[in-house]
Subunit: 342 residues, 4 copies
Amino acid sequence: MSLPQTNFKPPFNITRASHLVFTSRDLAKSRDFYTEVIGLKVSDETATTIHLRGVEERAHHSLTLKRTKDEPGCERVGFRVFDEEDLEKAKSHFDRNGIAAKFVNVPFQGRTLHVCDTAGTPLEFCARMKTLPRVQTQTHTHKGAGALRMDHYQVLVPDVAAAAKFYTELGFRVSDYICAGGDRIIGIFLYRKNNPHDMVFLTRSGPRFHHFGYIVHEMHHAVRALDAAGNLGFGENIEHGPGRHGHGHSYYVYLRDPDGHRLELLLPAVQIIDIDDEPMRYDVKPGNTNLWGLPPPRSWFEETSPLIGAKVMAPGTQGDSLTLEKYLFAKGPDAAPVKKRA
Amino acid sequence: MSLPQTNFKPPFNITRASHLVFTSRDLAKSRDFYTEVIGLKVSDETATTIHLRGVEERAHHSLTLKRTKDEPGCERVGFRVFDEEDLEKAKSHFDRNGIAAKFVNVPFQGRTLHVCDTAGTPLEFCARMKTLPRVQTQTHTHKGAGALRMDHYQVLVPDVAAAAKFYTELGFRVSDYICAGGDRIIGIFLYRKNNPHDMVFLTRSGPRFHHFGYIVHEMHHAVRALDAAGNLGFGENIEHGPGRHGHGHSYYVYLRDPDGHRLELLLPAVQIIDIDDEPMRYDVKPGNTNLWGLPPPRSWFEETSPLIGAKVMAPGTQGDSLTLEKYLFAKGPDAAPVKKRA
Amino acid sequence: MSLPQTNFKPPFNITRASHLVFTSRDLAKSRDFYTEVIGLKVSDETATTIHLRGVEERAHHSLTLKRTKDEPGCERVGFRVFDEEDLEKAKSHFDRNGIAAKFVNVPFQGRTLHVCDTAGTPLEFCARMKTLPRVQTQTHTHKGAGALRMDHYQVLVPDVAAAAKFYTELGFRVSDYICAGGDRIIGIFLYRKNNPHDMVFLTRSGPRFHHFGYIVHEMHHAVRALDAAGNLGFGENIEHGPGRHGHGHSYYVYLRDPDGHRLELLLPAVQIIDIDDEPMRYDVKPGNTNLWGLPPPRSWFEETSPLIGAKVMAPGTQGDSLTLEKYLFAKGPDAAPVKKRA
Amino acid sequence: MSLPQTNFKPPFNITRASHLVFTSRDLAKSRDFYTEVIGLKVSDETATTIHLRGVEERAHHSLTLKRTKDEPGCERVGFRVFDEEDLEKAKSHFDRNGIAAKFVNVPFQGRTLHVCDTAGTPLEFCARMKTLPRVQTQTHTHKGAGALRMDHYQVLVPDVAAAAKFYTELGFRVSDYICAGGDRIIGIFLYRKNNPHDMVFLTRSGPRFHHFGYIVHEMHHAVRALDAAGNLGFGENIEHGPGRHGHGHSYYVYLRDPDGHRLELLLPAVQIIDIDDEPMRYDVKPGNTNLWGLPPPRSWFEETSPLIGAKVMAPGTQGDSLTLEKYLFAKGPDAAPVKKRA
């Protein structure tokens, strides 16, 4: 399996992971979670929809929650293109390649193009969005994590190299990739902005939406979010962490929102810009891959938000990940976690 | 079961939890752990003994490690008394009460009195110790957590009220206590200094030494310790946390040293001084008692350092604690943590 | 001049610096400042009085503001004694020594004793105060610095050794003292609690109240207070810092409240308990005495809160302190700070 | 005066501010300063040259210091272009426009192009540089600020709009600009990378190099740098701060290296990518323009590093900036900062 090569002359200019649309069964509870624990600001809300943004964001929304009575899921995964001309180029590109793409109207956004990637992830592209003042210096109004801005998405797919190829052809570069069992690529980290990242694929049945990441300023902001979670009835929503990823990645903590959608709070990652920055390869080794912190629990590996309308396919070979449960089981004196001891 | 009452006119003046003596099978490895991860300073070392102190400590040592070929354990649990006169009063007090107490010579310490508490914990008291300059402002020389100072001990005993009575008669106050199944007291937090704490008892077979705590200045110091642990081969020594205790207690992380001795890094706790500060009662409730953070793993509940020479007794009734293993088991879809899922 | 010696068998047991009473010309503005910037909690308020406490404090108030139309000042400097019996002992002690002392009623406090120290500082002692729940773990309700607790006072007096003697006879110990021009003592740091400090005297005309200190948890809490000050119209109230004191002391920032009363936000200081902890002597050296940070501006040296009712006396010899103004003047190319340069 | 417009189809692709070349009279002392206080890593050193990089940087150097016996200055201001092809395009562009540009060999760099901007700033462009492993996760090896990466430059020029035009024609965007006396533009912040910034111009005689900025991870890293400065004899090198800039910019502290070259340690700034992000205009208002923190001292306004070989020109109109000296003078009781007061 080979790593897809970046097309440095892409047909149009995608600039960044910018916004998500999720459905929710309880908007009021989600609003509490996102404003009091994560610290997002409400840009607009109605009885059926809430638009939220990070405290640093000038863009009107990076997270849209829509009321549903069905199973909550991810409706759209949004990216920005640089300008309106790029939308036209995008439409032509998809038409040329026989990929269904159509322009739609989305509130608070400029002209918006809907398309699915080759894995089936429902995407949308826009160049413009209503703007609001950044409030990152108004720290006396910040709550919880005071999350700064949307950072990246992680999607599970059966074939990460095939999924990533859609993006590398559109100019995405690979910062890191993970190999297992020799050269089988099981994870790819992709970016357009240089902070990075924008999109991450891991091998599992899919496409399924795994998590999105918001940047927090300093570690104590993540800690304040966890205090808020504990104090406000969301303590069980803390799924994994705090810890520090292996592979040079940042400090993290994962939470589940009231509908089970997973988000990561992470500190600013490294900057990657130079042509010298070749993709870094990491080989899966036995044991905990974190620099520190326990392995993720099984729920982290298995539970996801459905991508609404996408058909889930299973991979040919699936990883046998080290869950926290297996980790503790392997460390423990025997297989029965409830057995009493002296 | 009733909470023992503080004797506010104690026979002698104990001022604080001050120093511990542990045995170690590999002094070089322990030295690495304590200097590079925890950030203690070496005050003195020979082929068989290392004396360590926190960066804020003017006292020569708060942790003494002695080489052993046997099972590593805790040899002495040390407290300071205010002055030499208090040592004489202590000796008289113990003699009067038929408790064996003898003066011994300990390097770098003033006259030192050995005695066991009623639970069997081997204690030592001294009023003086060689002093060395505090180096807390020399932050460019600090490593890992840059641990400031010894804070408290936790000892497991079959009968916490009986064990605590020894201390309350010596002037210790109770900040908090934990009840289960109505009025059965299963945990008691005791203090003499006002930062607090000094000694904590939890109900289990014992006496067994559970952990000692060092204060760190800010949360990022704990994070730097965890980074150091991960980078220097001590990643598996992180046992539990970071998290925040319930009951108004502080942020914590627990690590195991190379011999399995457990220590807690914690942020400064509240100050308790006033007579108004009545002991706070907490009743065990089902579920995770942390403000946030996963429950401790089973090892935290079960594994301890033996108190050298102490005879271990089992309690009449033992708690059925929520371990991380049970917590995950209860959350999971079924009892078999290794079972594959879609 | 010699350092007064601590009486280790004091006539009664003072436990800590606990509360202040100030007058204010604009209660509403002061309330804003203390709740939004410093992060104190309002325990009680009427049209004429506000009682405030730190987020960690169980005691009803550590700061009382009373409305005035006169020049704002400090009405009382409060200390806790351990219990009611100590109040009786205190009264007897002062009576015996011909020092006027009388019991008064103060809202929310137990029996309260008024007395002046030998420098003329109006003090009050009480053993009990109404209690309220500590809210230090409710970080989602904290604002600004989220100040934890009252820590210490600094008072300017003409003769620091004479002023300190009143306190050392009551059991206060000296952590540090500052000498100038040989053995002339110009500053003394006194403590009863072991965190420390409780009372500091510096040589100037006096008695005049210089500042009080509240402990903040971590440096980022001080930074959040400064952001709040800047955003809420109190930016000019930041007088000095952030910086780090010399002499092993902590990080600091000084602010002036709307009436000009000065407070310090500082991080937890070292713990001092042991008999080994002899007073540390520091000799004034030319130049900036901070570990880092600019010298304080002239206002810091000269402006104070009057101690209501106290008669101000000038010292025999006054220090010639390095103000920020002199520091910049000495560094600059010439004496005229407004002169234009290329 | 009008703001120069960005050419969104630039003749070649500059990606970021990447490296500087300074001369130094005392390499050993500078090495100490940059490694112990700022926390840079030495990538290579000889008797006459030191190459340094931030802990996050994969590029071999972001700061080169060359030994000199002359007045220390800035020899080159370096930018990265995306690839080798961009260097060819750059050469053609400059040739076409009659701007002298020549290829040179620089150790550890790919082909490098020397050219001066229209203000006379000596620049160099390269696409490639030797790489070394990033060490940002090896926090146990970090010292002082553990500075992450080079961020931006500030250059003083007589005509900021003219100076900026060179850059906007090469694709730089304007994040903010500062106007005085109506529409006279006196400051322009330019960027290519999206973190931002890369180049800042302020109006003064010039071109003169004012400062460069390194990003630090969290505020406590800046504090550790200040502690290190104070402890290691560089306390007087702290020129200004810590404080928080107005205009939505970040926390900062300015230091002077042993040769007087000025650097800023700053926290990560906002991300700016979208076409919606129109330049923000700020109008100079009387008083301190910081969100908090004292105004900069006169030295900050007046002292610079000479750009070696550049001819300094004076501006038509120069700002009358609020220095710390003027600020204190205006606040003080009279014009004589050394006058004694009671």
